[in-house]
């Protein structure tokens, strides 16, 4: 077992993990951060996307031990729920989700995308969320949601 210390959604957690433990499993099974979900076993779907020191990663492709000393933000730490993050607001406003299973990952990827490019074109949005699969929306309203989030976050128009 390895000792790790990770800040998750603003709380510092200490843990003992098997070296093979994936970050997503540590988040879900040890910390109860079940808002972050698993959708595949080949790192294709992106449902498990979180921010690791501010950048999006697929938490199924990171070992928990690799997150030692880092800060992780999950969908559950993005906002309080009373005040929504603009990306969350935009996804609701533009009907950018249906079943909602890809949504935590899609939202976290969008946060990272807009951090890097505050005013992306449709093509840049589609390329930017390429690593996040959605089976419900056909992406049409997800693209609208990302555009709307960019607007809400003050991206040049």
């Amino acid at each position: 077992m390895k000792h790790i210390s990770v800040n998750v959604d603003g709380t510092q957690y200490e843990g003992e993990v098997e070296p093979r433990t994936l970050l997503v499993h540590w988040l879900r099974n040890d910390l109860g951060k079940v808002g972050t979900v698993v959708g595949c076993d080949t790192s294709n779907c992106g449902a498990c996307t979180v921010l690791l020191d501010g950048r999006s990663v697929k938490s199924c492709s990171v070992l928990a031990v690799q997150a030692d000393g880092a800060a992780v933000t999950t969908i559950q730490g993005l906002s309080t729920g009373d005040e929504w993050h603009p990306v969350q607001e935009a996804f609701k406003e533009c009907h950018g989700l249906q079943c909602g299973y890809c949504t935590p990952g899609m939202v976290m990827s969008t946060v990272d995308l807009l951090g890097e490019n505050p005013n992306p074109s449709e093509e840049e949005i589609r390329e930017g969320i390429e690593g996040n699969l959605c089976r419900c929306t056909g992406y049409h309203n997800i693209v609208r949601s990302v555009e709307r989030a960019a607007e809400l976050m003050g991206g040049a128009k």
Binding site: E18, R20, R28, N29, K33, V34, G35, T36, V37, V38, G39, C40, D41, T42, N44, C45, A47, T74, I75, Q76, L78, S79, G81, W84, Q88, F91, K92, E93, H95, L97, Q98, C99, G100, Y101, C102, T103, P104, V107, E122, E123, I125, R126, E127, I129, E130, G131, N132, L133, C134, R135, C136, T137, G138, Y139, H140, N141, I142, V143
Partner: protein, 789 residues
């Protein structure tokens, strides 16, 4: 939406979804989130080969692995090794082989369940599978349907002695009309195998309650109610001791319309061990163990006069059942059977379907279930007939489709379409598409020999939704009914519980159902809580599939709401000292006609019904309305979809440049949700045309059973869509609704392929196989060139 909205009620408005807050904050309750004390995690040893005799199976070495509590093969599980029933025996002589949860002596597809291990954590359960000693003596794999029916083929189910599951026939008279035809066109289309791939993998938790025979099963399922009946029948647990909960469910698309082996295993083992048992599939397990869809070979022939009047249609299907029959496997092609004649008038229709067993994952419902296959074949052959007649494909369609003034119309397949307006939907679609400009560009590219050719794909489709009138289901030998239930309770505080038998997994029922009830009860959408997906709280229902939830469940909500209002009216009249007939119900309150000052809000009536201090004689306390509705008929959404396809003739690369979808789904309760359903359906239909396909090698080994190689479309693979609706209300459904869940998936596949073929037709191309990958398209072009040389 261009229609003027009636803003006095929430019905028809694009209200933002009530579901979204929790989904956007990760405060969800997926089955895999459920962690009960003492849970045992189940891992499954699956067959790595397609067809084999199990010559040795010893699970005992797994028992000495760390954290392992139990391990079972079929022998150890004994009577608890329940078999999956098929509830749609389509013919009297159908072959229905035993489908045990754990294989007995023989495995029949890669992914077949051989043994299970139960451990205190999922990792050790998975690790311990390695210790199980198993040996197989492989048998010839049966993969190709035509070979499966041939002499000398290996046979999957020895008792049956054949791989033929059933033969179903409908109609007749085609040969007579063919004799009169000037033109006959036939084609063989392959509607390839697809994997539903809901983003949430399947998961089940079965928890026994104390020492009793009570059991609660949480499952990522579309059908908690149907599951409860089937689970009771399979396990012998009394139905009234079983509670099935579908918590938040992350998509289904038909893939979770099932009773699965893993659900039975978890339940039976939880019962045997007296502890909760949990199983969550990996994605790679999902892709061999969750049922697949489509997989039909379609021989279709159409006969017409030289001026383009369709005389008749003949369809001969081979439908791949896979290795076993899941609950409605054999019936899927029959849902398509009715739809081959589609929107077209004709004199004769012959249909035959042969179900075939092969060493592949069982097939069953996938978005559209039989109807996409039918729509693909008819819309493709119409284009081929148009080419043969040298007629514009839209002109040929117009010449043969049912005119709007001809409804209700009885089709050659025996259905009666209540309403439709193909002219209106087509006119709107053509306008949005810019057909004339695109045809001009196509001509120009053809003349200049542009390496990138442009093609225009048309799909004027209809489907049958709202499964289903129970008598019709009975006539088709389906074992259950097609009704739906709703209970509406107004609580003493005026808040409403709307209990529905539908079971959403992304469709937004909580919002849309609230809109229906709120519009009748005259209260706010936010004052309604929709209760669903839990047989403990919503005991009656037939669940969600076949675009039935609004078409059938919506009727029950309407009727239950109206029943509630009628009971409230009697109480209000008593309080206002008038007769019920003197009251009108306006915006949530009962008013005396001609004296609106004398009024009683319905919330106050609910409180009176709760205290029961002053109810009229014979009126029972509490305020609720119930309804169980059996639909009068199916509903028939339709629409016109148009695709502009660019095909690079040098590389085979296909680009979907523009897609227009005008759908007529009748009255829309929430146009925002309707549009979202269309978008998602389009993505899946386009996925079939361009990207998706589950393939096996000759030994029955899956070639692409994971998300790296099975290409679910990603965002760059699709364009934005242009969508709109026409509204022709259904006359057989009291809300005027028809259903929208499957429309996009049904309509879009032929539009895409018709577009590709249209682009390449001058080169001699008359068909392109699906998925139309660059390699497939390039090879098709090369073959056509060779043919010309």
């Amino acid at each position: 939406m261009t229609e003027t909205l009636d803003t006095s009620t929430p019905l028809g408005r694009p209200i933002k979804r009530k579901e979204d807050a929790k989904l956007l904050h990760g405060r969800t309750n997926w089955t895999d989130n459920i962690q009960l004390p003492g849970t045992l995690h189940m891992a499954i040893l699956r067959s790595p080969v397609a067809h084999a005799t199990i010559t040795k199976l010893d699970v005992t070495p797994a028992l000495s692995q760390p954290n392992v509590i139990a391990a079972y093969g079929a022998d150890e599980l004994g009577d608890l090794n329940g078999s999956i029933p098929c509830v749609w025996p389509v013919t009297d002589d159908i072959v229905m082989p035993d489908f045990p949860s754990l294989a007995k002596g023989k495995v029949r597809h890669v992914g077949d369940c051989v043994a299970v291990v139960l451990a205190t954590d999922p990792q050790h359960a998975a690790d311990a599978l390695e210790a199980i000693e198993v040996e197989y003596e492989t048998l010839d794999a049966v993969v190709n349907m035509e070979s499966a029916l041939g002499e000398g083929s290996a046979v999957l189910h020895d008792d049956a002695g054949t791989n033929k599951c059933y033969v179903y026939n409908l109609g007749g008279g085609y040969d007579d009309v063919k004799a009169k035809a000037d033109v006959v066109v036939n084609r063989r289309f392959v509607n390839q195998r697809l994997i539903p791939t809901a983003m949430e993998p399947r998961s089940v938790v079965a928890a026994p309650m104390g020492m009793s025979d009570e059991m609660t099963v949480w499952s990522s399922t579309q059908i908690p109610h149907v599951l409860r009946v089937l689970m009771a029948l399979v396990t012998g647990i009394p139905e009234n001791n079983l509670r099935i909960v579908a918590p938040d469910v992350g998509g289904g698309f038909g893939g979770k319309l099932q009773l699965y082996r893993e659900e039975v295993l978890a339940t039976q083992i939880a019962r045997k061990l007296g502890r909760p048992v949990k199983w969550t599939e990996t994605r790679s397990e999902d892709m061999v163990a969750t049922h697949h869809g489509r997989d039909q070979i379609q021989d279709i022939e159409i006969a017409a006069t030289k001026d383009g009047k369709i005389l008749g249609l003949k369809v001969d299907l081979l439908a791949n059942m896979g290795a076993y029959l899941q609950i409605i496997t054999p019936g899927i092609p029959l849902l398509g059977m009715f739809m081959y004649p589609a929107i077209y008038k004709m004199d004769a229709y012959d249909f035959q379907c042969t179900g075939v067993f092969t060493n592949t994952t069982p097939t069953d419902a996938y978005r559209g279930a039989g109807r996409p296959e039918a729509t693909y074949a008819i819309e493709r052959i119409i284009d081929e007939l148009a080419a043969e007649l040298d007629m514009d494909p839209m002109e040929l369609r117009e010449k043969n489709w049912i005119k709007h003034e001809e409804f209700p119309y009885s089709t050659v397949a025996g259905l009666t379409y209540d309403t439709g307006n193909y002219e209106a939907a087509t006119a709107k679609a053509l306008d949005l598409f810019g057909m004339d400009e695109l045809r001009a560009e196509q001509k120009q590219r053809r003349e200049s020999g542009d390496p990138v050719q442009l093609g225009i794909g048309i799909s004027t489709f209809t489907e049958m939704c709202g499964l289903a009138p129970s008598r019709t289901l009975g006539a088709l030998k389906y074992v259950a009914g097609g009704w739906e239930h709703a209970t509406i309770r107004m609580l003493p505080t005026g808040k409403v519980e709307l209990i529905t038998g539908t079971s959403p997994h992304g469709q937004g029922h909580e919002t849309a159902w609230s809109q229906i009830a709120a519009s009748i009860l005259g209260i706010g959408v936010e004052d309604i809580e929709v209760v669903h997906g839990d047989t403990g709280r919503a005991p009656y229902g037939m669940d969600t599939y076949g675009s039935r939830s609004l078409a059938v469940g919506g009727q029950a909500i309407k009727k239950a709401s109206e029943n509630l209002v009628e009971k409230a009216r009697v109480i209000a009249a008593h309080q206002l000292e008038c007769s019920p007939g003197d009251l009108e119900f306006v915006e949530g309150q009962f008013q005396v006609k001609g004296d609106p000052e004398k009024a009683q809000p319905i919330g106050a009536v609910a409180f009176e019904a709760f205290t029961a201090h002053n109810l009229p004689d014979g009126v029972e306390p509490t305020l609720q309305g119930e309804a169980t509705v059996d639909p009068e008929d199916f509903s028939y959404p339709h629409g016109t979809h148009l695709a502009a396809m660019e095909v690079d003739t040098e590389t085979g690369k296909v680009t979907l440049r523009k897609y227009v979808a005008v759908d007529d789904v009748g009255v829309q309760v929430n146009p925002m949700i309707v549009e979202g359903q269309v978008h998602g359906g389009l993505a899946q239909g386009i996925g079939q045309a361009l990207y998706e396909g589950a393939f096996y090698d000759e030994d029955g080994l899956p070639l692409n059973a994971n998300l790296s190689t099975y290409l679910v479309p990603a965002a760059p693979d699709l364009p934005s869509f242009i969508t709109d609706r026409t509204v022709t209300p259904s006359t057989t459904h009291p809300l005027g609704t028809k259903g929208v869940g499957e429309a996009g998936a049904i309509a879009s596949t032929p539009a895409i392929i018709n577009g590709i073929v249209d682009a390449l037709r001058p080169m001699g191309v008359t068909d392109v196989a699906m998925p139309a990958t660059p390699m497939t398209v390039w090879k098709t072009i090369q073959a056509a060139k060779g043919g010309q040389a």
